[in-house]
């Protein structure tokens, strides 16, 4: 501080007060300045101090001030912002203010440090807020995704729950400790038990299979049948299980091991199905026996009927010959009627015999070319074809099938013969074609004949025994051809029917045969 004995003491004191005032004012203004404005503000303020030429800021606190310069450190504790380098032109004038300036610079350092810390705090706060905002955003996304997943899961659970509740198959879930975790309404419907009745699987086995030996056998099968990992499989074994009401039920089941070692069992009540199958089997056997007996009867009857018919015919002819000159015209006509009736009855019996013979003798089933068979049939009808002036087209796509060539030839002869017989005035046109339809062949014989009237059930009626749509005076025949065809085709595993678009519009006779790989 300036001494009291200084001759310019008063003037200096005034000057001293001015400098102190400047420093105090700078301190006040610095308090509201932004951090970056402080150093330039101070440099500009120091420039007017007594004895000072220039002032500079050196951010390097370790640099030594040059000759004629005084360094004022802007440091506080271990933190420093640099040095203010004051270039002094009048040392004596400047020297009294050094302590003021040092204190002032310390104060500036404190303010700068406080500003720096505040800035860092603000930056950290901002970073923290950014992190919190980002984390909040991610959490929001995660929560939304989780909520979506929970919603989807609950919806899926609902679907599965409804499915399990509604399906007609029994479902039971067995925990690893053997307790029953769940059983669905179908289980109760099939076997009568609720979860309260069979809380554990041992109790269930004892109730379901009271006989210990049978129970052990079923349980062994069940253990073997547990599938892991789950895959679709048809239940291949059935077991008899006791219903709560004491009746026996036949069930088939599939057991699946879940990832948590629990076992999911689905069971199907096949009692009615089994009984129906056995019933059907019994009825089929009875039917086969009946058919065999009927065929034997038909064969025997038709064979035995022909003998008296031959006698009627022979003796009527003999009687007519012996009474030839004594017979009146009317009596002669009667004789003719008797012999015609006998001949016709013989034809009927012969046809009946033919029908009964189809399938009676087991003929070999071998690969047969339907094309060859059709050609053979056409050859055997050559005279009728030529007489009628018919055109018969046999397509080359007729397949080879498994069958009996004689019987199949008879089918073609019958069907082509019908097409020739039931013709219109125009020459018959007959087309024999084949189409593949899945695992069967569809053979069609189309003609341009008289057709049949539709809507009257004639399509099925003409397959009846001795059924005819025309009087025998119009068209000859006994009405046995189509029944024989049906019997042959049925024996070959196929089906036969006819289609027509009406009278005068031709007929389409169709039959199928299995498309067996030869």
């Amino acid at each position: 501080m300036p001494g009291a004995d200084n001759p310019d003491s008063n003037a200096f004191q005034a000057l001293d007060n001015r400098v102190l005032g400047q420093l105090l004012l700078m301190q006040s203004v610095i308090a509201i300045l932004p951090e970056g404005a402080v150093i330039p503000f101070v440099l500009e303020g120091f420039a007017d101090l007594p004895g000072v030429a220039t002032v500079a800021f050196d951010p390097d606190p370790n640099r030594v001030a040059g000759q004629g310069s005084v360094a004022f450190s802007l440091s506080m504790g271990g933190s420093t912002s640099g040095n203010l380098l004051v270039d002094v032109v009048e040392s004596a004038t400047f020297a009294p203010y050094c302590d003021y300036l040092r204190n002032f610079c310390f104060m500036v350092a404190v303010i700068l440090e406080e500003r720096r810390l505040r800035r860092l705090t603000a930056q950290h706060q901002e970073q923290l807020e950014d992190l919190v905002a980002e984390r909040t955003r991610r959490l929001t996304v995660e929560v939304e995704a989780h909520q979506q997943a929970v919603l989807a899961l609950s919806q899926r659970d609902l679907v599965f729950h409804r499915l399990v509740q509604a399906i007609p198959h029994g479902i039971v879930l067995i925990n690893t400790d053997g307790s029953v975790g769940y059983l669905n309404p179908a289980f109760t419907h099939i076997l009568g038990y609720t979860l309260a009745d069979i809380p554990d699987s041992d109790l269930w086995w004892r109730k379901a299979c009271p006989d210990p030996l049978y129970r052990q056998m079923v349980m062994d099968s069940w253990q073997r049948a547990v599938i892991d990992p789950p895959e679709f499989r048809q239940a291949d074994e059935t077991f008899t299980v006791r219903h709560q009401d004491g009746s026996d039920r036949i069930i088939a089941f599939v057991a699946v091991q879940l990832p948590d070692q629990r076992v999911l069992v689905t069971l199907d009540d096949v009692t009615e199905r089994k009984r129906a199958a056995e019933d059907l089997r019994d009825k089929n056997a009875a039917l086969e026996r009946s058919n065999a007996e009927l065929e034997a009867f038909s064969y025997a009857a038709s064979h035995d009927l022909r003998e008296p018919l031959r006698n009627i015919k022979s003796f009527t002819t003999l009687l007519a010959r012996r009474l030839d000159d004594r017979l009146q015209d009317e009596e002669r006509e009667i004789v003719i009627i008797i012999t015609d009736a006998a001949a016709r009855m013989d034809a009927l019996v012969r046809d009946l015999l033919d029908l009964s013979l189809v399938g009676r003798i087991e003929k070999p089933m071998v690969p047969v070319s339907l094309h060859n068979v059709a050609m053979s049939a056409m050859n055997s009808l050559r005279i009728q074809i030529e007489t009628a002036g018919a055109i018969v087209a046999i397509h080359s796509n007729l397949p080879t099938v498994i069958g009996n060539s004689d019987e199949l030839c008879r089918v073609f002869v019958n069907l082509i013969g019908n097409a020739l017989k039931y013709r219109r005035d125009a020459p018959p046109e007959i087309d024999i074609d084949c189409q593949a339809d899945g695992e069967i062949w569809l053979i069609q014989i189309r003609d341009n004949g008289i057709g049949i009237e539709t809507g009257l059930g004639y399509e099925e009626r003409i397959f009846g025994l001795f059924q005819r749509l025309h009087h025998r005076n119009e068209y000859s025949g006994t009405g046995i051809g189509l029944p024989i065809c049906r019997k042959i085709i049925t024996r070959h595993g196929g089906r036969i029917w006819i289609e027509s678009e009406g009278v005068g519009r031709g007929l389409r006779c169709c039959f199928t045969l299995p498309a067996i790989t030869v």
Binding site: R18, V19, G21, Q22, L25, S28, V29, A31, I32, L33, P34, G36, A37, V38, I39, P40, F41, V42, L43, E44, G45, D48
Partner: protein, 206 residues
């Protein structure tokens, strides 16, 4: 015309100052700026002085309420011409340039006009915005402030110049201090120890 000795209140403290003082207000926040402005305007109008206010962000509703609370009718003052308001851009940066000659003349005319209209005194508060640092003629700011100081000796308009501490660099703030004899700092009016006589400033420029 010479300075008379009319004592005026600046509104910041109970102190009075002779009319025509040139004061600098360095503010650090908007609330601080508004508070100083309202106090200065209120004390001027209350004393019957003609008062001009150049501020971009003047909330007339807020000012009106403040004045009403202090027994002054904002509407009456505006209608009578006692309170004039304008934007700093219109006053300082007309034609996109800063022209000290024109502004000094405007202040002079303002004083003459106010005296002619019988006002006992006149006062101005204006914010020198940061646009001065980039506009044409902005480098004449110190010259302008010094010439205002000189003008006020003959035309004693009490003037407060507001500067935003956060909008100017530190060196400019210090230069601004040096051309104002009085300062408002933290609500107090003090004599500025950095003040350099306007003649010296103008001489340095020459």
């Amino acid at each position: 015309m010479t300075r008379d000795a009319v004592p005026v209140s600046l509104g910041f403290t109970a102190q009075t100052f002779p009319a025509g003082v040139h004061i600098c207000h360095i503010f650090g926040s908007e609330s601080e700026r508004i508070q100083a402005l309202e106090h200065f305007v209120r004390s001027g109008l209350k004393a019957g002085e003609r008062t001009a206010c150049f501020s971009d962000r003047l909330d007339h509703d807020h000012l009106s309420c403040y004045l009403a609370d202090n027994g002054v009718s904002h509407r009456d003052c505006v209608e009578s011409g006692a309170l004039l308001t304008d934007s700093p851009r219109e006053v300082y940066f007309q034609d996109q340039r800063f022209d000290p000659d024109r502004i000094v003349e405007t202040v002079r005319r303002f004083h003459l006009d106010s005296v002619a209209q019988g006002y006992p005194a006149a006062r101005v508060i204006g914010e020198m915005t940061a646009e001065i640092q980039t506009i044409s003629g902005g480098d004449r700011l110190m010259e302008y402030e010094s010439r205002i100081s000189l003008l006020l000796t003959d035309h004693p308009v009490t003037a407060v110049c507001q500067y935003d501490a956060t909008a100017f660099d530190g060196a400019t703030i210090m230069q601004v201090l040096k051309v104002h004899p009085l300062m408002v700092i933290r609500g107090a009016v003090i004599h500025n120890p950095f003040f350099i006589a306007p003649e010296e400033i103008l001489a340095r420029r020459r």
